[in-house]
C-alpha cells in the first residue's frame, strides 16, 4: 500500500524545492550578467541550471534537504553514506552514461542521512522536479534501487513497487 504522505509535508517539500530551484536559476543569472561573459567563462563557472532538483523531508527531525543533479561537486566514495553505498546497483549503473551518485535524489538523501545519526531511508520523503519548470520527475532506475525504502511522491505510474505515491 502506498504510504500516506501528509499534505503539510508535501507543501513544505515543494516550497523548499521552489526556493532551491529559484536559487539555482539566480546563481546562473548572476554569473551570466558579468561583463564579457563568454561560452568559455560559462563552462569554467559552470553557469548552467542543473537539470533536476530533489528535496528530502526527514519526518523525525522535520528538516528539509535539497540537492541538484550534476557531478559537480563530485561526490567522492568516502562521502557516500553507508546506507546508500550498500544499495548501489551491483553491476554498475542501470542508466545510460551516468553513475548513480550524480542524481539529485541520491545527493539529497545522502545529506539527510548524514544530518542525523540514526536516520533511515524509511524516515525520508522525497520529491524531485525539473529545475526549469518544476514539473515532477520520476526516479531513474538507479534511484529506484538506491532510495528504496524512502517515500517518493513524484514518481509516475511506470514505477512498480509499493513505496511510492504518484501525485
Amino acid at each position: 500500500m502506498p504510504s500516506h504522505v501528509d499534505e503539510q509535508v508535501k507543501k513544505i517539500l515543494f516550497e523548499a524545492l521552489s526556493e532551491a530551484a529559484q536559487r539555482e536559476k539566480d546563481r546562473v543569472e548572476s554569473l551570466s550578467k558579468k561583463a564579457n561573459f563568454s561560452k568559455k567563462e560559462r563552462k569554467i563557472q559552470n553557469a548552467y541550471v542543473s537539470r533536476t532538483i530533489s528535496g528530502v523531508y526527514d519526518c523525525v527531525s522535520k528538516q528539509v534537504y535539497t540537492a541538484t543533479s550534476s557531478s559537480r561537486p563530485q561526490l567522492m566514495p568516502a562521502e557516500i553514506h553507508p546506507i546508500l553505498k550498500n544499495k548501489l546497483p551491483l553491476g554498475g549503473s542501470l542508466e545510460a552514461g551516468r553513475p548513480p551518485e550524480v542524481c539529485a535524489e541520491f545527493k539529497a538523501c545522502n545529506l539527510a542521512l548524514y544530518a542525523r545519526k540514526d536516520a533511515r531511508l524509511e524516515d525520508l520523503t522525497v520529491a524531485t522536479v525539473m529545475t526549469t519548470d518544476m514539473s515532477h520527475k520520476t526516479r531513474c532506475a538507479n534511484c529506484l534501487e538506491t532510495t528504496d525504502g524512502a517515500t517518493v511522491i513524484t514518481d509516475n505510474e511506470y514505477i512498480s513497487g509499493d513505496d511510492n505515491e504518484a501525485l
Binding site: K43, I44, Y48, P73, A96, Y158
Partner: protein
C-alpha cells in the same frame, strides 16, 4: 530517412508511429527550436526529423531494471525545451561535439535531453554528461531502446586541452589513463586540484617527497605543482601563483561551498597566509585537510 527493419519494429510496436506518420505540430516545433537557438533556419536534417518523428513517444520495457515497468523516450520538442537549460546545448554540448546541436526530445524517463546535430548525429545529455547515441536514427533508436548501456561519453574539450597543457609537467608520475578517468567528472580546476593531491601521493610512494619537504623543490621538474606540507596521510596542496590563480581559487571556492562540506588546501602564494587570504575573500574560515586512505580521497573539515 531510411529506416532499418529493427527501427521500424521498435517504432511500430512501442509507439503510435506509422510509416505514414506526419507531425501535425511540425511548424510550431520548428518555430520553438528556431527561437530557442536564435537561428533563422533549421538544418535540413533537423527539419526532416521534426516532420517525420516530432511528437512521437516510445514506451518499452526497461532493459536493465526489474523495478521499473517501462522506460520511454519522446520527440516532443516543446516539452524537452521546457525541461532544459538550453545553454547546456548551445554553449557546452555543441562545443564538445564540434557542431551545432538542436533539442529534439528526451530519453530515459526525461533524465536526459536528446539532441541532434546538423549532420544528423544523435546525442543525449544530462548536466555534464553527454553521450553519443549514433550517426543516424537507426543507431540512435537502437541505443535508446537497449537502455544506452556502453554508450560512448563525449569528453569535455576544455579538459582535453588542459590535459595536453599539463601533460609534460606530469613527467610520467601519473598515467594519462588515471587522468582521463577523472575527466568525465571534474572540470579543469577540479582536475588541477586533484592532480596536486595525486602528485603528492605518487611522490611519497617514490620517496621523493623529502626533496620537497626540505624546500629543495626542483622547479624545473615540478614547475606547476607545489606541495607544501606533510606527506603522511594528510596532504596540503598549494596552487602555484599563475595568471589565473584567482579564478582558480574562485572556482574552488564555489565548488567547496556547494559541496556543503570539506576540503582544501590554500596557499596561493607567499604573500598570503591561508587565513588572511581566506578572510580577505570572505571565504571559508576553517582549516581543511584531505586524507588519502585505501586509495580513496577523504575530505575532512577540521573544527575551528
Amino acid at each position: 530517412m531510411k529506416l532499418c527493419e529493427n527501427t521500424l519494429k521498435i517504432l511500430q510496436e512501442h509507439s503510435k508511429w506509422t510509416t505514414s506518420y506526419s507531425n501535425s505540430n511540425s511548424v510550431q516545433d520548428e518555430k520553438a527550436l528556431l527561437i530557442d537557438t536564435d537561428k533563422k533556419k533549421l538544418p535540413t536534417a533537423v527539419a526532416n526529423f521534426i516532420k517525420q518523428f516530432g511528437g512521437v513517444e516510445v514506451h518499452f520495457p526497461h532493459p536493465s531494471s526489474t523495478r521499473m515497468k517501462e522506460d520511454y523516450f519522446h520527440f516532443n520538442i516543446a516539452k524537452a525545451i521546457a525541461h532544459t537549460d538550453t545553454h547546456w546545448i548551445t554553449c557546452n554540448y555543441s562545443d564538445r561535439v564540434g557542431e551545432n546541436l538542436y533539442v529534439v526530445g528526451e530519453a530515459f524517463h526525461s533524465s536526459m535531453v536528446l539532441c541532434m546535430s546538423e549532420t544528423g548525429r544523435y546525442y543525449a545529455g544530462a548536466d555534464e554528461y553527454l553521450v553519443y547515441l549514433g550517426a543516424d536514427i537507426n543507431a540512435a533508436l537502437e541505443s535508446l531502446y537497449s537502455g544506452g548501456q556502453n554508450l560512448k561519453r563525449v569528453p569535455d574539450e576544455v579538459m582535453q586541452s588542459f590535459l595536453e597543457k599539463i601533460s609534460p609537467t606530469l613527467q610520467g608520475f601519473i598515467s594519462r589513463n588515471a587522468v582521463y578517468d577523472r575527466l568525465d567528472n571534474m572540470d579543469q580546476k577540479e582536475i588541477q586540484f586533484w592532480l596536486n593531491v595525486e602528485l603528492g601521493r605518487v611522490l611519497r610512494e617514490k620517496n621523493v617527497c623529502s626533496l620537497l619537504d626540505d624546500n629543495k623543490r626542483d622547479k624545473q621538474k615540478f614547475p606547476k605543482f607545489q606541495l607544501t606540507t606533510e606527506y603522511g596521510v594528510t596532504y596540503r596542496c598549494a596552487i602555484e601563483k599563475t595568471q589565473d590563480t584567482l579564478s582558480t581559487l574562485e572556482s574552488l571556492k564555489n565548488y567547496f561551498r556547494k559541496s556543503h562540506s570539506f576540503a582544501l588546501l590554500i596557499h596561493p602564494d607567499d604573500k598570503y597566509t591561508d587565513k588572511q587570504y581566506m578572510s580577505s575573500q570572505g571565504w571559508i574560515n576553517k582549516t581543511y585537510k584531505i586524507r588519502m586512505h585505501a586509495g580513496q580521497l577523504t575530505f575532512l573539515a577540521k573544527n575551528n
